[in-house]
């Protein structure tokens, strides 16, 4: 039996006011099921947006400098407030810009000048799910990297840059930290007609992949492959590459994961996920 000090609220030797105050204390309430669910939904969005949503305040300058205007405008789109989005004629969606509807509103399309993402119309998710490619092609992440290399890609989101002001105009906290709204996740639109919708679709696909990386890495690679086909010049190519590397590592393809992690580290040092990648590289070499 270990020694246990007497609690003050049970002690006769303690100052009465101190004792009474402590006795009035209520035990710490437990975690309720509804609070757990609220937190889980918010967390899913944080986990799905590794670079975009986390620490935007701290990283926006670095990211904008490193990845060019395309990425900067992606960040701007994501951190824009719902009120401002309305003003700009876009859809009043959540601050994380996750599309809540598979089809963009006609008003948004019109106001964005009917922007169509290159490659986005070439293939629909439905056609993919109906006829899955042969096994040998399924995990061809070759395609993912080549078509959307974060390094070689040319930023192609000038419309987004025009549509929303620069990041610095939004001193709001990062959406990951507060104000995340609970938006149901819908399948990505087959063809994104505005930069906003396009980015939403990108975020959504990457969210799906992120949720699968640990439990079903091959499935995650499928999703990432689809992302690469739909968005050959993706604004979030960097995030996709990180997820591909993680999925490869989790599916046992450590050599490939290591090789690609090294490439990404060499091309984009100082990124937020450097520690994650270095760990994959280190593990692979042990």
């Amino acid at each position: 039996m270990t020694f246990e000090p007497e609690r003050w609220k049970d002690s006769a030797d303690v100052d009465p006011l101190t004792r009474d105050l402590l006795r009035a204390g209520r035990k710490t309430p437990a975690f309720s099921a509804t609070a757990r669910m609220r937190g889980e939904r918010r967390l899913a969005k944080v986990a799905a947006a590794p670079v975009v949503a986390i620490g935007v305040g701290l990283w926006s300058k670095v990211v904008a400098a490193a990845f060019g205007a395309g990425f900067a405008s992606a960040l701007a789109v994501i951190s824009v407030s719902p009120a401002l989005r309305k003003k700009l004629g876009g859809e009043p969606v959540s601050s994380l810009a996750v599309a809540s509807s598979p089809s963009p509103s006609p008003r948004a399309s019109a106001s964005m000048g009917g922007f169509s993402a290159p490659g986005a119309v070439a293939e629909t998710p439905e056609s993919e799910s109906e006829s899955p490619p042969p096994a040998r092609d399924r995990y061809s992440t070759n395609h993912i990297v080549r078509s959307g290399s974060a390094r070689s890609r040319v930023p192609v989101v000038p419309d987004a840059a025009r549509a929303v002001p620069a990041i610095s105009a939004f001193p709001e906290p990062a959406p990951a930290l507060s104000g995340l709204e609970e938006t149901p996740v819908a399948p990505p639109p087959a063809s994104a007609t505005s930069p906003d919708t396009r980015l939403s679709a990108e975020v959504q696909l990457l969210q799906q992949a992120r949720a699968m990386v640990n439990v079903d890495p091959n499935g995650a690679l499928d999703v990432l492959n689809r992302h690469a086909r739909l968005f050959p010049d993706a604004a979030l190519a960097m995030e996709r590459e990180v997820l591909v590397i993680e999925a490869l590592a989790h599916s046992g393809r450590a050599t490939d994961a290591r090789e690609r992690a090294k490439e990404l580290l060499a091309s984009s040092p100082g990124a937020l996920y450097t520690a994650r990648l270095q760990r994959i590289v280190a593990k692979g070499t042990r």
């Binding site: 609690r7 006011l17 402590l22 209520r26 937190g39 990951a176 046992g252």
Partner: protein, 196 residues
């Protein structure tokens, strides 16, 4: 310039290598198994009910970023406790204005009670005073005092949460009690000062 070399598709399809990474907990796994622990810890650090959702999320954003560097040297709970402590400290510094407002409400309570504070406080008032006095302590002392005196955790359990020896729990409890006793003294002299 670092140019990617074309990768053979077949290299991606070979059998898992021996160097395959062991499964590691994702942030979602950590949330599922430990969110209740963090939630409770944050309340003991003095995070108000209306802020708990936001602060919980801030903790898990940090967990998400730091999970790759968690090596398992410490218990997961101890690691999470440390992160929660830092996030809660930052939050409390940010919300100092609101705490000052709470102190004003506390003074209202005292002004209503013009008699001796020793026997003039109703249960609800005592609870408000307790909360305000606990908030005068630093977050670590506050949490320790709440764990031992209010939640009535055994010292062994507190030691496990903090990742420290039980002997250290005793000495920290002593320090926390002293700080609380001083806060009670300050409260008493403020109340008496108002009586005059």
């Amino acid at each position: 310039m670092n140019v990617r070399t074309p990768m053979n598709v077949f290299t991606l399809l070979k059998a898992p290598e021996e160097t395959a990474l062991p499964p590691e907990p994702s942030v979602e796994d950590v949330y599922r198994s430990h969110a209740d622990f963090v939630w409770t810890a944050l309340q003991r650090f003095g995070i108000r009910a209306e802020d708990l959702d936001d602060v919980l999320q801030e903790v898990f954003v940090v967990v998400y970023k730091r999970l790759p560097s968690f090596r398992g040297d410490a218990q997961m709970t101890t690691w999470l406790y440390g992160i929660s402590l830092r996030v809660a400290s930052v939050h409390r510094r940010r919300s100092h204005v609101r705490r000052e407002r709470d102190m004003l409400e506390l003074e209202d309570i005292h002004s209503v009670d013009s008699t001796n504070p020793e026997d003039g406080l109703a249960e609800r008032q005592r609870r408000s005073v307790l909360e305000a006095l606990l908030d005068e302590l630093d977050v670590e002392k506050r949490a320790l005092l709440v764990m031992f005196e209010i939640d009535e955790l055994p010292c062994e359990e507190i030691a496990a949460i903090l990742g420290i020896p039980v002997g250290t729990v005793y000495s920290r409890l002593h320090a926390a009690r002293r700080a609380f006793a001083k806060a009670v003294d300050r409260f008493r002299s403020r109340a008496k000062g108002r009586q005059r």
